[in-house]
Symmetry: C3
Subunit: 351 residues, 3 copies
């Protein structure tokens, strides 16, 4: 019931050296791979472990091939980017193990008659789909999810259980949205009138491109008047907050707990470490990389890696350094005063 | 099918200069407003853009009116606070476009016979309402939401899909709760017995005033013995955590990702920037404003703006500054030692 | 309808001094306890308040007993750890007040015929349980929750409304999961191919021990190939993010908004303050305590308390200190230069 190595290579490419008829039960890292696994070497510093592997087959780069092949007796799949090959192979094996959700609409789902559901889509139990929503071919909407009026879900999208996707928002093909995510909640917009907050109606949408992944319990707010935009290939981890009218460029990735305030414009191919925060109305260039736990408070026009968090220390040491940080102004004054005294002393001595 | 300008001004006030019979299709910012929109000038620095606008009408202040009117040919609505007027107008246009949710209880909803549902309320598909809960007039509870035993939902409240509102909690009139929000989960209370945690039952409630907005995926815990209290007019954005027994004063607003630990007492009219954090058992005065990403570790008795986050820098510069921050104690020692040496040198020179 | 003091002591232990036939309506802190309450003194600094209490009974330690008893006229329960006793008593009173959820499967629930549901379990409205899932004895799965294929829920677990527990994940006995929590969403794993992200299938599970509590809207991702592991007695507050392949040791507790990146290995009996963050692939020893708002960027091999956040200040003061922090390198240069000058001056003077 495994996968023939030759079939894998036919589908994913790469240069096979060895027996195509080997049967593989799955893929595993070097540390765990047994005699029925294919494994991968994506970092040359593990060449010695790779040589010693008992795996049936190994994905590796041309640069590592000769050295590993001198010892390793299994089949080899030589490919320029073994980590990407591993990713594709992991998808392959996961697809073999997957039990496809049933096509059609579960009888407990509540689907408005004016909604358009592709015949190949799978709509799970307790799903609600409002009027005029459109669900594309092969899309899977799992139990308890909510699709608001006029929303458009692209072909091949997969929504986990308990996703909320609000009215008039759209997502392109092959989008993946995890449980608890909320797409299209109201943005946080109020006018202050004598100390009280007057709500600004949030009538924009969330427009999401193709191949976008959105993690568990992540929130993306709809725009106030214009739309919030998430371009193709963006990957958002869990517990992320994207404010109204943000625009996130293609293939940007954000790790868990990131927050982006309203109207931030973020470039393409950026990365944000966990819990990084971005203030509103900023512009961030392409290829900017923000470290975990860092707060972006101004626009970033230059690509590069940026960081800003207080270094961790033993609590007693932190208390000392934090007390000094609070008084850096007086330390600077002291230094200035010393400079003057030293200058005066020098002058005296030079007389 | 638009709104007559005269009707808008009749409802919202302001001084109309121009033709009341203009038909408006909606409201738009200066940058986007076309010939069928009403727009607004809420910041005098955009007067030039305002003069050049093609909008059918403009909301603006008396201070800006003369200058704009010298060029702008549309109708004007003059009002002391154009931004608040814009907020109200945005609500008006949103209400025109809205399709009201159907009054009554959806057949798929599970409502305990002992619950009291106002005849004008709208209860969506797959909603669960437990025993003795009370749903006020005109309230809207959308699909998949859960209302626990004995909970009380005020008149005109609007719960988005997949809201969880636990037993015995209450919210006053016109509350808005967004999807994924959880009101009344257990507070995080444990006693430690030899390294193991013994749960403290959380039997208080969450008591929420009128006109409170709660964002997507925000959590407010019930009190341990007493209640957690959210006063009137509080506005909470998405992904916020409010611990048990907190008390948040009226008209305080918190941006996304804020966390407030248990038993914090927060004043009225405070604001918290995104990802600001408040430790437990603190007291924060009225009109305190905490910047984004700042950690409040002591009670704040004085109104004002407070900040505390590490400034962002290029990663290499941060590494340098962070290394020094870790060793500020030795830098201070060095300065002290230099001061002594300088004093000794001065004394010698003065001999 | 109250609880007889004697019955409470029979069940929870402790040394009763006073009338066992007193009827108690509940437990309350010193500040609130009335004549029908039992209260507790867990901190000796409140002895004076304890002496003055009107409570019917008091839980207190041997060390406090004599002094309190000299004035306090109610019954006393003397026990080495009054706070733990309070926790257990709070559970007792909560259990008296609780209305047990109905045993059996609500007719609106959708349960796959191949799932195994203990006859004593309670399955609420709109719950979905997929094929081959197992629900243990006395477990309670409240409204709208989702249990994926092959998941295993231990005896006595309690899932609040709208919990998502994905396929093949497991939780041991007496687990508590609050609303909006998502267990077993995909980890955040991608390979980068020329700027585009290729998804790595996430085929591991989340394996949770016994007596684990998981707060509202918390997310725990399934492992990539191996499993994510949460050991016995771990307590997680709300809005927490646990990345794929993390391993959290027994009896570790994390406050709200904590984030742990993938493959972090955390010891037993650790504590994490609110919004603490842990980078991926780190190892943290047992008994490490991380303060709120602190970022852990390297492995911690030594038990102790660690801290790292920028101290809060008035905004103007922060601006001053932050500007200096940005330029600490030049301050250090200045100090070095002064040291040289002073040395030169000293040398001159000594000639």
């Amino acid at each position: 019931m495994g996968t023939r190595l030759g079939e894998l290579v036919e589908r994913l490419g790469g240069n096979l050296v060895g027996d195509p008829n080997i049967e593989l039960v799955g893929i595993a890292p070097l540390s765990d791979a047994g005699v029925s696994h294919i494994t991968f070497l994506s970092n040359s510093k593990f060449r010695t472990e790779a040589q010693a592997s008992q795996a049936a087959a190994m994905i590796l780069s041309p640069a590592d091939d000769a050295l590993v092949a001198a010892v390793f007796k299994g089949a080899r799949v030589v490919t320029p980017n073994p980590y990407v090959y591993f990713a594709r192979a992991s998808q392959w094996f996961a697809a073999q193990a997957e039990i496809a959700p049933p096509v059609g609409i579960h009888p407990s789902a509540v689907v408005d008659p004016s909604a358009t559901i592709a015949p190949s889509a799978s709509i799970g139990p307790h799903v609600t789909i409002e009027a005029e929503a459109v669900i594309g071919a092969d899309a899977v909407i799992k139990a308890g999810s909510f699709i608001g009026r006029g929303a458009v879900i692209g072909a091949g999208c997969r929504f986990s259980a308990n996703v909320t996707f609000h009215a008039f928002c759209q997502i392109g093909a092959r989008g993946i949205i995890h449980s608890g995510a909320v797409i299209g909640g109201d943005g946080f917009g109020f006018a202050n009138e004598g100390g009280r907050w007057v709500k600004i109606a949030q009538t924009g949408r969330v427009m999401i491109g193709e191949d976008v992944d959105i993690g568990s319990n992540t929130s993306i707010d709809r725009g106030a008047l214009a739309d919030t935009v998430i371009e193709d290939g963006v990957k958002l981890d869990n517990q992320i907050q994207i404010g109204h009218n943000c625009h996130i460029g293609a293939h940007t990735a954000m790790a868990g707990c990131v927050g982006v305030a309203g109207s931030a414009i973020i470039g393409k191919h950026c990365t944000f470490g966990g819990a990084a925060m971005v203030l509103g109305h900023l512009t961030i260039a392409d290829n900017v990389h923000i470290s975990s736990g860092s707060m972006v408070t101004r626009s970033m026009h230059e690509a590069g890696q940026y960081t800003g968090f207080y270094p961790l220390a033993k609590n007693a040491e932190w208390e000392k350094s934090a007390a000094i940080v609070r008084n850096l102004g007086s330390m600077r004054e002291k230094i200035r005063s010393m400079e003057k005294t030293i200058a005066a002393l020098s002058a005296k001595l030079d007389c």
